[in-house]
């Protein structure tokens, strides 16, 4: 049960009445704008859903998990996601009681 871009296009076509071309462009542009914002150093806040937050990581010693060999992990910038209260609540409510 994996949601893909194709499913999103289908949904916008069904529910809002966009044609397939418009729906496909919109889905592409939506994710592209988030990427553009992040590569401009700007965090993205989607209320009700969550925040995409940039973090700069220092270099650190690591290991190649296959060979066990010690390697230096270079400094890097990473994207993290902090789910919002509403999303966390919905996830817990709906499947929190699943054993």
């Amino acid at each position: 049960m994996t949601l893909t871009k194709a499913d999103m296009v289908e949904h916008l076509y069904d529910k809002i009445g966009l044609n397939k071309r418009e729906a496909k462009d919109l889905v592409e542009m939506f994710f592209e704008e988030i990427k553009i914002s992040l590569e401009s150093g700007k965090n993205v806040k989607l209320s009700g859903f969550g925040n995409f937050v940039l973090r700069d990581k220092n270099a650190r010693p690591g290991r190649n998990p296959k060979t066990g060999e010690e390697v230096q992990v270079s400094e890097r910038r990473v994207v993290t996601f902090r789910p919002g209260q509403k999303l966390k609540g919905r996830v817990e409510e709906n499947i929190g009681s699943v054993e």
């Binding site: 994996t2 462009d25 542009m29 969550g50 940039l54 973090r55 996601f81 966390k88 817990e92």
Partner: protein
């Protein structure tokens, strides 16, 4: 950048859809994503990343105000793994721009 700013930018970058349709579409996309995760599903968007659920074991916690012990049930929390393209673009931007607070 916020949801309404995304709608503004999309509105400027394309001519097919009016503001109202764009706003409704963006909200609907986010709602669809939230629903899928709430139903226990995953989301995969190539080049952007994937969302899945991570299990958290039941544990004893404490009320930080009173110090009182409380039992916390097991639960699932949303997790995001950035895709290759997003990972690379974010990392390459490190040399060019600083992170805005």
């Amino acid at each position: 950048m916020t949801k309404s700013e995304i709608v503004e930018i999309l509105s400027k970058k394309q001519n097919n859809l009016n503001h109202q349709d764009l706003e409704a579409s963006v909200k609907m996309l986010l709602n669809l994503m939230s629903s899928r995760l709430s139903d226990g599903g995953r989301i995969e968007v190539r080049g952007f990343g994937s969302f899945s659920l991570h299990y958290r074991k039941a544990r004893r916690g404490r009320n930080p105000k009173t110090g009182e012990q409380v039992a916390l049930r097991s639960k699932y929390v949303p997790h995001f793994k950035p895709g290759k393209e997003l990972r690379e673009r974010a990392n390459e931007s490190r040399a060019k721009v600083t992170i805005q607070s």
